[in-house]
């Protein structure tokens, strides 16, 4: 039986069509696009085409607004550090408590350097309080960086509206859209988003390629200085093969946008409803009404995520978890904690993330596998008696914590 891959928010398979498009740029088209001769020239044209393909997927006004980088993290760092460098008189940043570490760790580091960072909180459904946000916007804020879609729950933030508000207050707005690009339609030219990050490997391009969208006219300071590549905004010889690949992947994402929002969504919904029906004491985390079509995050109470993943993996099923143990960190996922999910549920939170390569057969496989796994682990759990949670679990089992 083929393995079932439901961890597409972690990374995706490179589409065979994408591989095919990039291969020539390792061999016959190996030239440096900056060179005058024909070896380089053809590569230059290929990069231009790729830039156009990404522009189209984002609905950007100009292709020169697309800057190729090495990954989503580089795009995030470039955006935030650029805003600080370009506006030395502004020393505040607004972001959220549920951002990806690519943004959170950088912000925590900047705090040590003396910047003031405002972390917007979320409610139990993972939603922001826009009133709190509005009150923080001021001429002291250099940049707002808010993710478009959350990687763990798929919850969407109202970035279009938030960008309008930032714009009205004269503040640069950046969004980490690595999970959203290719899954929901975008038209950046009609928005007030100034900067946006993409990661290639989340949409069936290879790892090691990303994009920073930079609206024309937004003041910018490069992270990497050197050659004139990317119009001097990101020096370093272009990763030609991967840029071509990302272009192709962007084109395919545009073509599959409807599929993602119908067929992929139907698979996700079938899985989620199936699990909720057959397993007791579990619930969907995040904003179920307003999220990516491919993501479902279910918290199984009284069991632990890594144990679930290991048992799923034994049956050839790949998913991911917000438990502390899967990351080697101290705490369960900061996203689960931010939503105030109790520890005994946060540790059992399990993310299933689909792609257009999944099938309904995959869904049936997981639906068969999950109930016995949860039952087996609950039998081992001190919070569980023979057929349900022990009465008042927190009281019946109150270990001495160290």
């Amino acid at each position: 039986m083929a393995d079932v891959y439901l961890d597409n928010n972690a990374t995706t398979m490179v589409d065979p069509g994408v591989v095919e498009a990039m291969i020539p740029y390792f061999t016959e088209q190996f030239g440096n696009p900056s060179s005058m001769h024909s070896f380089g020239n053809k590569v230059g044209f290929a990069l231009k085409q790729a830039r156009g393909q990404v522009q189209k997927l984002l609905g950007a006004e100009y292709d020169s607004e697309i800057i190729f980088t090495s990954c989503g993290t580089e795009s995030d760092s470039t955006a935030i550090l650029s805003a600080l460098k370009a506006q030395p008189d502004r020393n505040e940043i607004i972001t959220t408590v549920v951002e990806h570490p690519a943004v959170l760790s950088l912000c925590e580091h900047l705090e040590k350097e003396g910047y003031k960072v405002h972390y917007l909180k979320v409610n139990e459904k993972g939603q922001l309080d826009l009133q709190e946000y509005k009150e923080l916007l001021s001429e002291r804020v250099a940049i707002v960086s808010v993710m478009w879609a959350n990687n763990e729950t798929g919850t969407l933030f109202p970035v279009l509206e938030m960008a309008e508000l930032a714009n009205a207050a004269g503040v640069i707005f950046h969004t980490d859209a690595v999970q959203a690009v290719g899954k929901i339609p975008m038209d950046l030219k009609s928005s007030k988003i100034d900067m946006l990050s993409i990661s290639g490997h989340k949409l069936h391009a290879p790892k090691g390629i990303g994009v920073l969208y930079l609206r024309r006219g937004v003041r910018f300071r490069p992270l990497l200085r050197g050659g004139h590549q990317e119009r001097g905004r990101r020096a370093g010889t272009e990763n030609a093969a991967s840029i071509v690949a990302l272009g192709k992947a962007a084109e395919m994402a545009s073509e599959n946008m409807e599929f993602e929002n119908t067929k992929v969504k139907a698979m996700r919904d079938r899985l989620e409803q199936g699990i909720l029906k057959t397993v007791s004491h579990c619930f969907v985390t995040g904003d179920a009404e307003n999220r990516l079509p491919n993501t479902s995050n279910i918290a199984f109470e009284f069991v632990e995520g890594e144990a679930i993943l290991m048992l799923l993996n034994k049956q050839g099923i790949a998913a991911s978890s917000g438990s502390a143990c899967t990351s080697g960190s101290l705490e369960p996922s900061h996203v689960m904690r931010a939503m105030d999910i109790p520890y005994t549920a946060a540790h059992g939170s399990t993310r299933f993330s689909f792609s257009r390569y999944n099938t309904m057969d995959d869904v049936e496989r997981v639906l068969e596998a999950i109930p016995p796994i949860i039952e087996k682990l609950r039998k081992l759990s001190p919070y569980w008696s023979s057929n349900g949670p022990v009465e008042e679990p927190e009281k019946a089992f109150a270990p001495t914590y160290a």
Partner: protein, 303 residues
């Protein structure tokens, strides 16, 4: 995915003694804040002989927490309680053929559950004296609390000293930023300022009198003596396999040895050297490289 041993996986997939022991007369409920795991250990102890006749566990936790609990129950059955109390968390990890450094706290939780259960059997109240923090040094599995307390107790001011006292940072050195942050924080409590210049990164100085000094801060002769003693303690093992090892030269963090007898030319020699290196690093509490003496001329030519 974690690099779990086959034994860990086996105990996780087929846990032994899961569930509560019937007629148990000892219960230990403990949790590890460091990952939210929790364990209830129940024992049936014979009140006359104090022999543990049966053991069972219920665990809310990850794969290695369940495996550690399962291993613990297997280990204690048939032991008397005094014997059982001698089980260390390392014994539990060894029983499982090792645990990743990030997961060693699972074995600690097992040992604590056992102590708590025995205390319960004896009608005493068990108090936990051990606190855990974020893992800082992955080479030697040293956590934040341990480093913080050592820095505070000994007024440490440099990364080098932290490595000497706790081993943290003595391996791959990736955690030095984290150690510096702890120093900044703890030193600030005492109104002091951390000065990175006070602790130059350990460098191999090639002037003759410092050639043999390492990063452990130990006096030169004392350090060589220590290295000799450690190597001496490894020899019986090698001799059993018909081989032997001798110390040839110590240059900074590089230790040159001669492998003789069955060890010379043995395909396992490289692996043995690795084992010797690991042993020396653990005992000296600093990073060292162990090379065959045949590499020595090259180093001399380079110096």
């Amino acid at each position: 995915m974690w690099d779990y041993s086959e034994t860990v996986k086996e105990h996780f997939y087929n846990p032994r003694n899961a569930g509560e022991v019937e007629d148990s007369n000892a219960t230990g409920d403990v949790g590890s804040l460091s990952c939210g795991d929790a364990l209830r250990l129940t024992l049936k102890v014979n009140p006359q002989t104090e022999i543990i006749e049966d053991a069972g566990f219920q665990t809310f936790g990850c794969g290695s927490a369940i495996a550690s609990s399962s291993a613990l129950t297997e280990m204690v059955k048939g032991m008397n309680v005094d014997e059982a109390l001698k089980i260390s968390n390392q014994d539990i990890a060894d029983y499982l053929d090792g645990l990743p450094p990030e997961k060693m706290h699972c074995s600690v939780m097992g040992r604590e559950a056992l102590q708590a259960a025995v205390a319960n059997f004896r009608g005493e109240e068990w108090k936990d004296d051990h606190e855990e923090g974020a893992l800082i040094c992955k080479c030697f599995a040293i956590d934040e609390v341990m480093i913080e307390e050592t820095v505070r107790a000994n007024n440490l001011t440099t990364v080098e000293e932290v490595a000497n006292y706790t081993k943290a940072g003595g391996g791959c050195a990736s955690c030095h930023e984290g150690i510096e942050e702890i120093l900044v924080r703890v030193m600030a409590e005492a109104g002091e300022t951390f000065d990175p210049a006070a602790s130059p990164a350990p460098e191999v100085d090639t002037t003759p009198e410092t050639l043999v000094a390492g990063t452990s801060g130990m006096a030169i002769m004392k350090r060589i003596k220590r290295i000799e003693t450690i190597i001496e303690s490894i020899r019986p093992q090698l001799k059993r396999d018909g081989g032997d090892i001798e110390l040839v030269e110590v240059m900074g963090d590089t230790i040159y040895v001669n492998m003789t007898g069955a060890c010379s030319g043995c395909q396992m020699a490289a692996q043995t050297l690795g084992g010797v290196q690991q042993r020396l690093m653990e005992d000296l509490g600093e990073f060292v490289k162990v090379l065959p003496a045949t590499e020595l001329p090259k180093a001399m030519a380079g110096a």
